[in-house]
Symmetry: C2
Subunit: 259 residues, 2 copies
């Protein structure tokens, strides 16, 4: 199985372009305002443009990278969405992250020069590829880029920590509430509706991510709907009562929360 999809016949090696150059101008990208190269000078920006590669789009279920494969590039989601899955021998696969447009995938591969988990498209997905050695070279000359890379990784550390708090101390209801609010916020900051959106992941993915059985996810969503907190129709979700949802997510009474 090929991991990085570069073309129908996968003939082109790293370094090749599968798309015309005009698409590689970050300035013109709708995501520019919330993507990695934000804040670069004109000159630095064009150097950045120059290292970007554009693999062919991924179809639902296709892998962007395969666990333990040699790490070479970071990827930025341009459209669509992805999940990261960690496969452990003899254990159920564990979903560790969902990635939306503008988010950077692959930082965890730097440490050991191999991808920590597999990354799979949840729907048709376009990505930009950033060969890491070239990015690192550029980071030497462009302090702003270096800073942005550090900030980006740091932000991911914060997110992971939030997740650890969620998994370790909160009830099923609170996890789901936080999850939906988190997604809502991410959509909002991308200019999409924070109230109604499409879940590209299955109940089972959500369950794995939140440390819950998929049946529990389904039941909690049904109950939230009864309580008029949200309305759910398959994978279409509308947040009906944002205030109560926030209250629930932040409620003091999680697990292990004695007086």
């Amino acid at each position: 199985m090929t991991a990085i999809v570069r073309g129908k016949s996968d003939r082109s090696g790293p370094g090749s372009r599968s798309r015309p150059a005009r698409e590689t101008r970050c300035e013109r990208c709708a995501l520019y305002a919330r993507c990695l190269p934000l804040g670069l000078e004109v000159e630095a920006l064009s150097s950045f443009d120059a290292i970007i590669e554009h693999p062919h789009p991924l179809k639902r279920g296709q892998r962007l990278m395969h666990q333990s494969q040699t790490f070479e590039s970071l990827f930025v989601v341009r459209s669509g969405s992805l999940k990261q899955v960690v496969e452990q021998p003899g254990q159920r696969d564990q979903v560790t992250h969902f990635y939306l447009p503008g988010e950077v995938v692959g930082f965890d591969g730097i440490a050991e020069s191999r991808c920590y988990g597999s990354v799979v498209a949840l729907e048709s997905t376009f990505v930009c590829e950033l060969p890491f050695h070239r990015l690192d070279d550029l980071a030497e000359q462009v302090p702003e880029l270096r800073g942005e890379l550090f900030r980006c990784m740091s932000r991911e550390l914060c997110n992971d920590q939030r997740m650890m708090c969620l998994l370790s101390g909160r009830t099923a209801d609170q996890r789901l509430a936080s999850f939906m609010l988190g997604l809502s916020e991410r959509f909002r900051s991308r200019g999409c509706s924070p109230y109604c959106f499409h879940l590209s992941m299955s109940r089972s993915d959500i369950g794995s991510y939140l440390g819950l059985a998929l049946e529990t996810v389904s039941r909690v969503l049904a109950r939230f709907q009864e309580q008029r907190l949200v309305s759910v129709d398959g994978r279409e979700l509308c947040i009906e009562d944002h205030v109560s949802l926030v209250a629930l997510a932040e409620e003091g009474a999680g697990r292990h929360s004695g007086p």
Copy 2:
């Protein structure tokens, strides 16, 4: 409350040295082989030495940094140990990390320029302080240092992901087993006994970290002792049956692990 302890009267501002220069030679440090500057050229190493500061030692319970305080420096543990605690309004404090000698504390502060959680000494602890802006400057000139910083952050991302898998999919027994094996490995790689060691954290800290009630920690440890997997005497721990402990930790039958 002062967060970074620089001296009895906390009179010295950032940039001051509280310790004589001879102590700042990384080359002579016992941790050199597994610390950040590993692999730097002689010249780069002395530039690195030059930016290190040495705050006064922390006593048990003292804070190295305070949640939300402005981020300025990374710290490396030189001796002793620390815990990171995330305090959420109205919720129980959540322990997110333990830090042992040679480990870097504070990467999560880069993103927002403020410390993500509080960091507290679990025993008498010495640290080296690395003002981040100086480190970043140096990272421009020294590619090896830059690479090491990226790798270090990436490693932390991998560790957090391992933790998320643990919290999300494993039983109390498996969490404790993994926790002890993880500590064991970290002690081993520091040249300490991987079989018998001292737990500098309380049962309650362990519980918080692993998403378990402290009573559960106590009970599981007692049972492990009955089963001759470990022997515990207060905070002294000996691993008696490493093989079974590994088998338990990796066992396919966690939670949500259907056929």
